[in-house]
Symmetry: C2
Subunit: 206 residues, 2 copies
Amino acid sequence: MMNLKFNQEGLIPVIVQDYKTGEIRMFAWANQEALEKTLQTGYAHYYSRSRRSIWKKGETSGELQRVVEIRVDCDEDALLYIVEQEKNIACHTGERNCFFRGIDGEKVKKVLPFETLQRLQEVIKSRIEEKRENSYTYKLYTQGEDRVLQKFGEEAVESLIALKNGEKEPIKAELSDMLYHMLLMLTIKNVDVCEVLEELASRFKG
Amino acid sequence: MMNLKFNQEGLIPVIVQDYKTGEIRMFAWANQEALEKTLQTGYAHYYSRSRRSIWKKGETSGELQRVVEIRVDCDEDALLYIVEQEKNIACHTGERNCFFRGIDGEKVKKVLPFETLQRLQEVIKSRIEEKRENSYTYKLYTQGEDRVLQKFGEEAVESLIALKNGEKEPIKAELSDMLYHMLLMLTIKNVDVCEVLEELASRFKG
């Protein structure tokens, strides 16, 4: 283990990032003991400055954080926990993460580029589970997988034509369509897009 | 602006995340003035606890951080700057981000799921710029765009067949191939995969 620099209260800041979406789930603090418990158990532990005690995230709520990896910053005075979030809720307010408002106080609606595929697949899953009648996704889903595959194939061909033509707007539009249908088809086959991206990542050196 | 809680030193922690890749570029601190300068200029400013002064990130190195968005956590005592990083370097060590080591002190090699497409496109760009002879990417690139498009089309069809068959490993393998050739073709056409993901994200409510 590295020679971590804890502050005068014996604490080190912890950034908590989601392994799949990349969103910042929380910001918290750890002391030596919280870090050791995290390493021993594989689940995120922090130090509460208000309660002056160690806490295991999600111990009562079930919103546990399985720690995939811990990284340390260049000065060795900040930690990054990369986690898988149980129940998809990290904030005590019930929000999926603690950074749900902008500096203006308004709730953030924007989905960021890096989280787009994973978050869209979440939406697709929920449309199907809810059987939402007025949803394009649910309607297409009910038409069966051959119809979804046919749409995927059509959009792949349209993407190819747009790429050949080389104009940016059609390229963006057609590839978006193709990726959406890819996500729907992956959902039908119970494959998480994260698993595809893991496979792709394993093939190259960053 | 929200009623932010600065600590007894007048500081608030700032998580700095890349807009495109989602990687955590840095962890730093701001005071009221650093935050105001960030909002006024659109470029990240911080407070250095060692130098006891405001600093503009990249002022001398050129490694500026254009701030796309600022988010605030539920307790209003932590900030998230979402930035575009000039020169793709954020750490004073010359690394692309400050969290380049694991808790064991070893340099991190793993590319995380959410950053995979953007990071792979970076690699593809560099292979082409370097004209790296022993690279599959560079060789395929030199065969011309029709050959790349043909490969993209082949891999899309193979993906379709794998999805129809429904076995996870071929699905992951074929879609990885298709996405790789999509990234190469986007690179040839000077489209950033981030632009495609922005288009896709604009189509759904998260």
